[in-house]
């Protein structure tokens, strides 16, 4: 083999870059980490089925924001016919009271940084479900 030193260096670099997840996980990984969502503090059903909320909640929140902010609608009729106020702080966080143990669980795991909290104030979580809202 010609230029063996350089070729081997190149091959090692190639493998190191492609196998980054393998050695990174071995070095400092928490590979048994898995999001664990806190149970809602109250309420029987969510505004949409769990499967839908799990993967598509951002569509719903986006829709809510547009309807409230742009059209002034405030009432959402859910899939069972119940009415809810379209509000992240007042409706969602009323049941899912602890942002850190609900929203952040998956978002941190998936490296998602939603900009909800650029405007919305994070309420203080209380065990009793009493939520202190920002203004």
């Amino acid at each position: 083999m010609y230029d063996a030193g350089k070729v081997i260096l190149g091959v090692v670099l190639f493998l190191a870059i492609l196998l980054f997840p393998v050695w990174y996980n071995l070095a400092k990984g928490q590979t048994d980490a898995e999001p664990e969502l806190a149970e809602p503090v109250k309420g029987e059903t969510c505004v949409a089925p769990t499967d839908y909320m799990r993967s598509n909640h951002m569509d719903l929140l986006d829709d809510w924001r547009d309807r409230v902010v742009r059209d002034g609608e405030r009432i959402y009729v859910d899939f069972t016919g119940n009415k809810h106020e379209m509000s992240l702080s007042n409706t969602c966080l009323d049941c899912h009271a602890d942002k850190a143990k609900f929203c952040d669980e998956c978002h941190t795991f998936m490296a998602v940084e939603p900009y909800c909290w650029d405007c919305h104030i994070i309420p203080e979580a209380t065990t009793a479900g009493e939520v202190t809202h920002g203004t």
Binding site: V7, G10, F20, P21, N56, Y115
Partner: protein, 335 residues
């Protein structure tokens, strides 16, 4: 026809995956067995390719140059266009690998009325190629988040830069749009320009369609309601790289289409023109310094030539020559 053949091949793969993942065996095959096989074949295949190239001798120094060679001190040398040393080579390789410098010189020839042959710039291929490759790299790096926990800060940074404009929710990634546009250009270029269509083979279209399928299935999963629960995707990704594979229930067919497009790409890679990924580093026209006149390049396959120098010849016949009074280079007895 060759384009249709490739399109058909990709379509068949997608249909097979969609049908297969309705069964447990199909999910196991396309979700665990095939990905592992593909990674192994890709890594071994690429390393084998590189070693094979490295074992091939380079008989001549065949640096392609486009600048002034180093000669007299008062003639300015262009070290990047005609490298005189390894720093020049390194600089030229970096420009080639990172910015496709030689493709930037691409020209076109048009036959105008007259007939008149007109040469001109053709930078669109360079631009589309550059956008495609850089987008692919950024998307590749972004995907590390599906395989590692915790996600390193630099991956987050690249991802946030990619979603800089915060358009839509989930935020639209700039590279997603760019790679789709670049792929479309690269495909249309082959189809719409008659000369390009003439020389394009199935092996030129197939990777375009596979990568197109990869990008589109990925975008469907991110931007449309067909999306899958990405925490399941990550559990599976982490499982794969920690050799502890899992197949979460929630992953839909679209996820397996995405995964299989990647798997097919990996399987196809070492056997196709896509090996230019490694080949660009191994091209003798690029990675050698243009220093023929300073350093002798010895052809490694030069045979061992049996030579008989005059010195040896004189040694052999010294006595006879001396007896005949012939002049000698070295007269051993007179000393």
């Amino acid at each position: 026809m060759r384009a249709l053949f490739s399109l058909f091949a990709v379509a068949v793969i997608i249909v097979v995956v969609v049908l297969a993942v309705t069964t447990d065996a199909g999910r196991l095959f396309f979700g665990t067995i095939l990905p592992y096989a593909a990674i192994a074949i890709f890594l071994v295949g690429m390393v084998y390719r590189v070693i094979d190239w490295a074992r091939s001798p380079v008989p001549f120094k065949i640096t392609t140059t486009s600048g002034q060679q180093r000669s007299l001190p008062w003639i300015r040398n262009s070290n990047l266009e005609s490298p005189r040393n390894k720093w020049g080579v390194l600089g030229r390789m970096l420009l080639e690998v990172l910015f496709f410098r030689s493709l930037f010189r691409n020209t076109k020839a048009d036959l105008k009325d007259g007939p008149r042959l007109v040469y001109g710039d053709a930078k669109w291929l360079w631009l589309a190629g550059l956008i495609f490759h850089w987008s692919f790299l950024i998307i590749f790096i972004r995907h590390f988040k599906f395989f590692v926990e915790p996600v390193p800060g630099w991956v987050m940074m690249i991802q946030n830069l990619d979603g800089f404009f915060q358009v839509g929710l989930p935020i639209f990634y700039i590279t997603d749009g760019l790679i789709l546009a670049a792929l479309t250009f690269l495909f249309l270029r082959r189809v719409l320009i008659p000369q390009m269509r003439y020389i394009s083979l199935a092996g030129d279209y197939f990777p375009l369609f596979v990568i197109g399928g990869l990008v589109i299935s990925g975008m469907i999963m991110r931007y449309t309601p067909l999306r899958v629960d990405i925490t399941d995707a990550k559990l599976m990704g982490v499982g794969l790289v920690t050799l502890d594979p899992v197949l979460p229930e929630g992953l839909g067919a679209i996820f397996f289409v995405h995964l299989t497009m990647l798997t097919v790409l990996l399987l196809y890679f070492p056997f196709s023109k896509l090996t230019h990924m490694a080949g660009v580093f191994m091209s003798p026209t690029r990675n050698q310094a243009n220093d023929n006149r300073v350093r002798r390049h010895i052809n490694p396959w030069n045979p061992e030539v049996k030579v008989h120098t005059y010195e040896e010849w004189e040694d052999e016949f010294r006595e006879v020559m001396k007896a005949a009074d012939m002049p000698l280079e070295k007269d051993t007895e007179s000393k």
